[in-house]
């Protein structure tokens, strides 16, 4: 593989690659770009993701989106139509075999699910169902629908689902590798996602706006805001380069209200800063807030409280969209009813907060300052490492630990950075690993953690981290000693 670079794929490169991609599973044979454009062009306005986002953004509304995916088309259709009245935009969550391009195993899952009369897959195997199956699905819905997955190589998945009328595609070469894969080299997944982004860019050039959403929360577990912000910004830059023009950047709830509001506010500002500086002006940027992505409490009432806190802060921070959890989160893939319950609780909370005073405080401003300093420091180093090329830079940054995602399974991630909560529940750095943060920022983290350590009368250690990881499911924000 030649060295990765952040440059738009040429038509020749794209077309040659495309021929190969479509051969990787029989259903690829039915994909045709012109037909795909026609399918997209025929979608009524209420089924276009980019429109829903643009309207919500203009009107200051917050859209709700659940997660949902089961093995069989008819069941999946029923599931989405059961959710539709309670949400604004629809998902289709892809199963884990498809995410790893293990289509044969996915097929086995489909067959066994048919036999068992219940879904044995944790998502919808869109590649196996093919363009026709996916189109049947899209036709049966009345709201925009997005592909949500976790696929390092999503090229075939993108070809098939976009040809079928899905109008938004989640993921990115970093965010769908580091938290989701083990052995996939980062340059490879980034290269595969350049393909996906270029495909979306080609739709854009054909007059079809497809929304792209890098996956914000990463591992969902004590991720410091600057870490996910850097990934979001870099994936945004990579997507823009391939012609993507409708971007939704994400953030996963950390739990501390001031930090969460600061994170969402700074995300928009920082992204615009880097996008404009890279010479892009004609894009549409929106944000998505993920309700708590770490371990949930088992009890459904407690889980609903976690959901409600996320709904509140998402709305206080004026996110364009919320990805909604369910009271079944800790147990397993939710039933329709549990999913509806999550949406209804979220809607009630969002509605009650919608009209209220804008929230501001010195604490929020401090968090914004810290996040911005962190992001700028890491971005500077990424650009230095890549000699101005952000694709090359991010690969080297991960290799050297300049970028480091906590609790990530990927070999491509160093795994030295270790987060821990401070005395107020905000996420700080217990160990910054090799991430080149300014001294005053590091001192800030140290002081904050020391404050907690004093309050708990114990030394900061990995035990504290373990306690924090388990805290929310144990009904606390900060994992204090018993």
């Amino acid at each position: 593989m030649t060295e990765i670079e952040n440059r738009m794929l040429s038509d020749a490169t794209f077309q040659a690659e495309r021929a190969e991609v479509l051969k990787t599973w029989p259903s690829g044979g039915t994909v045709d770009f012109d037909a795909a454009v026609a399918v997209q062009a025929a979608l009524p306005p209420e089924k276009r993701f980019a429109l829903a986002l643009a309207e919500a953004d203009a009107e200051g509304r917050t859209l709700l989106q659940p997660r949902a995916g089961v093995a069989l088309i008819r069941e999946h259709e029923a599931l989405l139509n059961g959710l539709s009245p309670y949400c604004d935009v629809l998902p289709t969550t892809i199963d884990a075999y498809t995410r790893h391009n293990r289509y044969a195993e996915a097929q086995e899952g489909i067959d066994r699910s048919r036999a068992a009369g219940t879904s044995l897959l944790n998502g919808f195997p869109a590649v196996n169902h093919g363009v026709d199956g996916c189109r049947r699905l899209v036709d049966a819905l009345s709201k925009p629908v997005q592909v949500r997955h976790g696929t390092p190589d999503a090229r075939l998945l993108a070809e098939i689902t976009l040809a079928a009328g899905f109008s938004s595609f989640e993921g990115g070469g970093i965010s769908y590798n580091i938290p989701y894969a083990k052995h996939v080299p980062l340059e490879r997944s980034i290269r595969h996602w350049q393909y996906c982004d270029r495909l979306v860019g080609r739709f854009e050039e054909a007059g079809i706006r497809i929304n792209r959403e890098p996956f914000g929360p990463l591992t969902g577990t004590l991720v410091p805001p600057f870490v996910s912000h850097v990934v979001a910004i870099v994936e945004g830059l990579l997507a823009l380069e391939q012609g993507v023009r409708c971007l939704t950047l994400g953030y996963g709830q950390a739990g501390n209200l001031a930090q969460d509001i600061a994170a969402l506010r700074s995300l928009r500002r920082l992204a615009n800063h880097y996008f404009l500086n890279a010479g892009f002006t004609d894009y549409k940027l929106t944000t998505v807030f993920h309700q708590w992505m770490g371990g949930f409490p088992e009890d459904e009432a407690q889980a609903t409280a976690v959901i409600c806190l996320g709904a509140l802060v998402a709305r206080q921070a004026r996110a364009t969209k919320i990805i909604v959890k369910t009271p079944h989160e800790a147990a397993g893939v939710p039933t329709l009813e549990a999913n509806q319950a999550g949406l209804k609780a979220t809607r009630q909370m969002v509605n009650m907060i919608s009209d209220q005073n804008r929230v501001d405080s010195p604490d929020i401003q401090t968090e914004i300052d810290v996040i911005e300093a962190e992001v700028h420091a890491v971005m500077r180093e990424i650009l230095r490492l890549g000699r101005g090329d952000v694709a090359r830079g991010i690969v080297q940054a991960f290799a050297s630990g300049v970028m480091d995602v906590p609790f990530a399974p990927a070999r491509a991630n160093l795994g030295k950075l270790t987060p821990v909560r401070d005395n107020f529940g905000a996420i700080r750095l217990f160990d910054a690993g090799h991430v080149p943060l300014p001294d005053d920022v590091l001192a800030f983290h140290r002081d904050k953690i020391a404050e907690r350590a004093r309050a708990e009368r114990r030394e900061p250690s990995f035990n504290m981290v373990v306690d924090d990881v388990r805290a929310i499911s144990a009904s606390k924000l900060v994992g204090r000693p018993a």
């Binding site: 995410r99 195993e105 044995l120 944790n122 938290p179 083990k182 371990g295 088992e298 609790f407």
Partner: protein
């Protein structure tokens, strides 16, 4: 102490295409803290990899995690494969979100015990308790270890 620690060696991993890495990190930390020697294979581990490692490391138990819902598909014939490779007696635990959806744990447990797992755990299990069970189960499955243990007892009593 060093000897005691070596005698509770286990292989740990997350099976199949499952990428959930956090529980695996927590399990490693807590089991290690509890005096268990953990050979951690991380996420996305195949049945073969588990078995190879158990043989290579002469482990007393294999602890399989499945979090993402495909546990039923991924764990099939695990015990049979172990038997094929001469690990018929190894202690086999499985835990996590083993099936798709919120299901009654008793039936899930029955299904996985049927598949040959010695113990089956829900996500909410108390890990301190697991450490106790693990020691007991490994000891019980280790016929020659019995004599060794009692011998050691005598040695220790003398010291």
């Amino acid at each position: 102490m060093d000897e005691a620690a070596r005698s509770y060696k286990i292989v740990l991993g997350v099976i199949g295409a499952d990428c959930h890495a956090v529980g695996n990190r927590i399990l490693t930390a807590v089991l290690t803290r509890g005096g268990i020697e953990v050979v951690n294979l991380g996420v996305m581990v195949s049945q073969e990899e588990f078995i190879e490692a158990a043989i290579a490391e002469d482990a007393g138990a294999i602890l399989v995690s499945s979090i993402y819902g495909h546990g039923e598909l991924d764990c099939q014939n695990f015990r049979a494969r172990c038997e094929e490779r001469g690990l018929g007696d190894i202690v086999l635990y499985v835990g996590g979100n083993l099936v798709i959806g919120k299901q009654d744990f008793a039936t899930v447990e029955a299904r996985f015990r049927e598949m040959g797992f010695d113990r089956v755990f829900p996500p909410s299990v108390d890990l301190e308790q697991v450490i106790g069970l693990l020691r007991a189960d490994i000891d019980a499955r280790r016929p020659m270890a019995l004599g060794h243990n009692s011998g050691r007892f005598v040695v220790e009593a003398r010291a």
